[in-house]
């Protein structure tokens, strides 16, 4: 039985086709699995293995290196509080403490209603806007304790419709029109010098329309 829905399976095959070697699609397909299911299940890893031409163990082996991939269910909203140096200087640790108190969970845990998972994370590149956090990888900057409380309230009451459920990173996906693809082939089929480099042999420059 297929783990991927039929439209996602088509998409998965298209993603595999964008790389000179199928194994390169392994991480993108794990993101796709997580988008469909919220986390990466064993069934997902088996199918990704088939699509990429590797074993399921290799999928787990690669995937487990990366902290964004979850191999067990997490809450619909993943709250990542940064406590790295710039955030620490301006209250990141206090914000994390407040988050634990409000959610009643420790970092790495999920609330009983499966709504929130809390994590303490390393620098998320918004250092001048400390302390900061991400909800499902969308930024909230210069977050005070009150800001945090109202964020929870808004999520609970459905007032943050722009936040997708955990697993969905973006609303826009790259699409390469079939007739616009230049040439995506394995390296052994691309040993020729790219045609435009022949211009180097010309003594004069060329016009372009």
């Amino acid at each position: 039985m297929s783990f991927f829905t039929s439209s996602n399976l088509d998409l998965a095959r298209e993603i595999v086709g964008r790389y000179p070697r199928p194994r390169s699609a392994l991480i993108p397909l794990m993101h796709l699995a997580q988008e469909q299911h919220g986390w990466v299940s064993v069934d997902a890893m088996r199918q990704i293995a088939d699509l990429c031409g590797v074993t399921a163990a290799e999928v787990k082996g690669t995937g487990s290196f990366y902290e964004m991939f979850k191999f067990h269910p997490v809450g619909s909203y993943l709250i990542n509080v940064c406590t790295n140096i710039s955030c620490m200087l301006l209250g990141g640790e206090e914000l994390l403490e407040h988050a634990q108190y409000r959610l009643g969970i420790a970092p790495g845990e999920t609330t009983e209603d499966n709504m929130f998972t809390l994590e303490e994370v390393e620098c998320i590149a918004a250092c001048t806007e400390a302390p900061c956090l991400q909800v499902n990888y969308r930024y909230r900057l210069r977050v005070s304790n009150t800001d945090f409380d109202s964020l929870l309230d808004r999520i609970r009451s459905g007032a943050e419709p722009d936040l997708s459920k955990h697993g969905t990173l973006t609303n826009v996906r790259q699409q390469i029109p079939i007739d616009r693809v230049a040439n995506i082939v394995p390296p052994e089929h691309a040993r020729e010098m790219p045609v435009w480099l022949h211009r180097n042999e010309a003594s004069t420059t060329q016009a372009v329309n």
């Binding site: 194994r23 990366y66 390393e122 969308r138 230049a182 010309a202």
Partner: protein
């Protein structure tokens, strides 16, 4: 509170006075659209490049002395020249895995002006005959991924990317790919491993440059986002005009993120090599000094990996040479400012903790050593430290990145500074980077360590061996 100098649609960016090369479109709310890009000279650099021979385009970039903006500061034009002739295909990998503590400029460039980056990629591919480009964006940067995907879709549709670009014989595909949360993937060989579908662990050197052996074993150019973002401007104008900004050895502008205890933290585009740390931290056009009623204690000049600087370094220019000679680095353009309220030991612990968590585990000195450093610092901060802990820390540091370190024995020889660039017993600089905050703080704030260390060393266990 943000002042009106902040740009509402680009939180963190400060639109101050001064030349704008890569952030010139940030003032527009729709700076990320193809429409705005084209209305503001977008893809002019690509059009200009396509009228020239590829080798001339390469020479123009070489002539601009465009220094790499990822951390090492290696000239891009020279790196491009390392491709071995005839070993096709060549690949371009764009390093958008910005994760260094304190750093964020690539994220803004990707979110606010994705077409500028795409244009830079295209020009590099044209100049060098690169067959395919992979734009590797950090997994946690969802908005950047969205904006780049949107921009690539527009650019493919409009004929700027893909087959027969602008009707010419130049064809190249750009594929957007996301990371999934691992700092070490910012190391270029680890990035290539990740792109090949593996755990992101750095490769053994040599070869030192992926230009020799890179993606799928093929010659590969790995460039930072900000580096490529400059390329379009250079082609649309000229190397000569580019060199009119910045200093002789570090031309152009550079983006710096200044965070921590300053009045106006932010991301600024700054003339490279000319501006000093003092201007950046205290200048009216920049951060406007330390927050009210406080004074500077120390600052990190180049991201979490850099040895720390102090009051006496403020007048150094933002240029690799002088900063390197003073024992640190500009790194990825991240300055973290700490005032006198900061607990130096705790701050060092937090940076070390980062490296301990992000160590990929390939090399033993880093995998074990960073964790030990973290544990020892943790117990010192918790008031459980022992007098021998400082020597122990320096001994572990010496095993990851051989010294000399600021221990008493070296004072007679005048060896006080942290050795820089660090020597390493590891494949990549992650482990050695963990030594920077430890050596910097022990050297300067030893009294803070001593004040926290109240316990005595445990009595050594003696085992009588019977004859």
């Amino acid at each position: 509170m943000p002042t009106n100098d902040y740009v509402a649609h680009a939180p963190g960016y400060v639109n101050n006075e001064g030349p704008k090369l890569v952030t010139k479109r940030f003032e527009y709310a729709d700076s990320f659209t193809l429409q705005r890009f084209l209305a503001t000279d977008g893809y002019t650099g690509l059009r200009t490049a396509l009228t020239k021979r590829p080798v001339d385009v390469h020479n123009e970039v070489r002539g601009a002395t465009l220094l790499g903006r990822g951390g090492a500061g290696f000239p891009a034009g020279i790196k491009w020249g390392f491709l071995p002739p005839g070993k096709y295909p060549y690949y371009l990998v764009v390093n958008g895995d910005e994760s260094e503590p304190g750093t964020y400029k690539d994220r803004l460039l990707m979110e606010r002006d994705p077409h500028q980056l795409i244009e830079g990629c295209l020009i590099a591919c044209y100049a060098l005959g690169l067959s395919q480009c992979f734009l590797y964006v950090r997994g946690e940067m969802a908005l950047a991924q969205e904006r780049i995907a949107q921009a690539l879709n527009e650019a493919y549709e409009a004929g700027y990317v893909g087959r027969n670009i602008l009707g010419s014989d130049f064809s190249v595909d750009i594929v957007l790919t996301w990371g999934a949360g691992a700092y070490i993937v910012g190391e270029e060989t680890a990035l290539i491993e990740s792109l090949e579908g593996n755990r992101g662990m750095p490769r053994l050197k040599p070869p030192y440059f992926p230009a020799a052996i890179g993606l799928y074993g093929q010659p590969t150019i790995v460039n930072n986002v900000e580096t490529l973002a400059n390329v379009g401007w250079i082609m649309a104008n000229s190397a000569e005009q580019y060199r009119a900004y910045g200093s002789e050895t570090s031309p152009g502008t550079r983006m710096f993120a200044i965070s921590g205890h300053v009045r106006r933290p932010g991301v600024y585009e700054v003339q490279h090599g000319v501006t000093t740390f003092r201007e950046l931290i205290y200048g009216d056009n920049f951060c406007r000094g330390i927050r009210d009623g406080h004074e500077l204690k120390t600052f990190i000049p180049g991201g979490g990996s850099a040895p720390w600087f102090f009051e006496e370094h403020l007048d150094l220019p933002l240029e690799a040479g002088p900063v390197g000679a003073a024992g640190s680095m500009l790194g990825s353009g991240a300055i973290v400012v700490m005032d006198e309220t900061t607990d130096a030991v705790k701050a060092a612990l937090r940076v070390v903790q980062f490296f301990a968590r992000e160590s990929c585990g390939k090399c033993t000195p880093c995998r074990e050593g960073t964790r030990w450093e973290e544990q020892i610092l943790e117990r010192i901060v918790a008031g459980e430290g022992r007098p021998s802990d400082i020597d122990l820390l320096l001994d572990i540091a010496d095993n990851i990145s051989p010294g000399p370190y600021p221990v008493a024995a070296h004072h007679a020889q005048g060896l006080e500074a942290v050795p820089f660039p660090p020597k390493q017993t590891t494949i990549c600089p992650l482990g050695p980077s963990s030594v920077a905050p430890i050596a910097s703080t022990i050297r300067r704030f030893r009294h803070e360590y001593d004040a926290k260390i109240t316990k005595r060393d445990p009595i050594p266990l003696r085992i009588e061996v019977l004859a």
